[in-house]
Symmetry: C2
Subunit: 234 residues, 2 copies
């Protein structure tokens, strides 16, 4: 049996606590970060608060093992006096949406092997995979995720803008989007790259530029340039 306390009632805290409730081998408590006076000692104290609040809130916790759930805050920014660790679920959580934890990889880090094992055990109870990742690596993952998630979503946004301006239902592109995301499970993105930029098909590139507004044009040019320099398989 692992006992734990989830601190924080935002998206991550809520989704985690609800999931822990379903696991018999976990005894979980849930408190708001403004109610730290009611905190009890547990095997793990999981701080699911905003990045900016991690230092301040952790400095008020006297529990023996405190971890946070952030992708971009290093372990040493935890200000509790006892043991520290990281328990970072690599996924974007949306309020109200159902979360399938079996599909979410966790990045774990701790100061000693026993704590690391405890975190790995907890991830296993969630039914998913853990990766031992240093704070330095975690920052890079967070950056890589900006490209793979935020920037990719912006490509979808522009794609939809083009459809909307031409009375084309955006749903027509959804199978292609799905296939693009799915393909890289089997081959690397470098191998999967296709299109006018990679072929240096100037005729098509010029036609495309003529159809875009100024902001889209600059973006198209910059990404085309990047594909031509670095898009291929190394």
């Amino acid at each position: 049996m692992i006992s734990l306390t989830v601190i924080g009632k935002g998206n991550v805290g809520t989704h985690l606590y609800n999931r822990f409730l379903e696991i018999d081998a976990v005894d979980s408590k849930w408190i708001d970060s403004r109610n730290l006076n009611s905190i009890e000692e547990t095997d793990i104290t999981i701080l699911a608060v905003s990045d900016d609040a991690i230092s301040d809130v952790s400095s008020q916790i006297e529990n023996s093992f405190v971890v946070h759930t952030s992708g971009s805050v290093s372990m040493d920014q935890l200000q509790n006096k006892a043991r520290k660790g990281i328990f970072y679920p690599l996924q974007s959580f949306t309020k109200g949406e159902i979360v399938d934890f079996t599909k979410i990889p966790f990045c774990v880090e701790a100061e000693n092997t026993n704590d690391l094992k405890l975190l790995e055990q907890l991830v296993e109870l969630l039914g998913t995979k853990s990766y031992q990742i240093s704070s330095e690596q975690r920052k890079k993952i967070h950056l890589a995720a900006v490209f793979a998630n935020n920037f990719t979503n912006h490509m979808y946004k522009i794609s939809k803008d083009i459809c909307d301006s031409n009375q084309i239902p955006f749903e027509i592109l959804l199978p292609l989007i799905e296939e693009t995301a799915s393909k890289i499970k089997n081959i690397s993105p470098g191998e999967a790259q296709t299109g006018p930029a990679l072929r240096n098909d100037q005729k098509t590139i010029q036609k495309h530029l003529e159809m875009l507004n100024q902001q889209q044009k600059e973006l198209y040019t910059k990404i085309t340039e990047s594909i031509q320099k670095h898009g291929k398989k190394l």
Copy 2:
């Protein structure tokens, strides 16, 4: 029964012909574009050749109804004397890969209603959805697909480059990539947008820029700028 001839033995021609063979209500023939002397009259003649060859090959065909399968070539570039049309599957075909036609939307266009109905009937036999799309709209779809497929794949590429340089297994990002592609089935990309660019989180943006090489930095800056100007829901 629909009789048809597929001309062209590249990816699209091969995948289409193999699929037609499975459909009882379709009687299909398959020829190479260099063997046009062996062509017979059929209800539909499907020209699945490279964009540049469409005008030349079509000018040599005397069949009654000729369609091509390209996303970026307009209907009037068909040079056959009889009726013309478009039968464009919106997907990227990879050689050797299994293609599930039930998930591929088709853009159809024709000069008259009867031909349009015939193409829609053929798409229905393939088990998927057809969209009546003009040549002008089709060009815009092709452009939108460059963002949704080619440019998105390049975001994955940079993401993987960052992982590779830091001994991080890229597989850790696959669930996030899948979730990002899946989310926009339910909410628009404008509503789905998250991240430091949209929040204008300058602290994180600066940290990210410091971790990137020159080319990646320029791309990061340009996309961040675009998200801040046009990333939000309109």
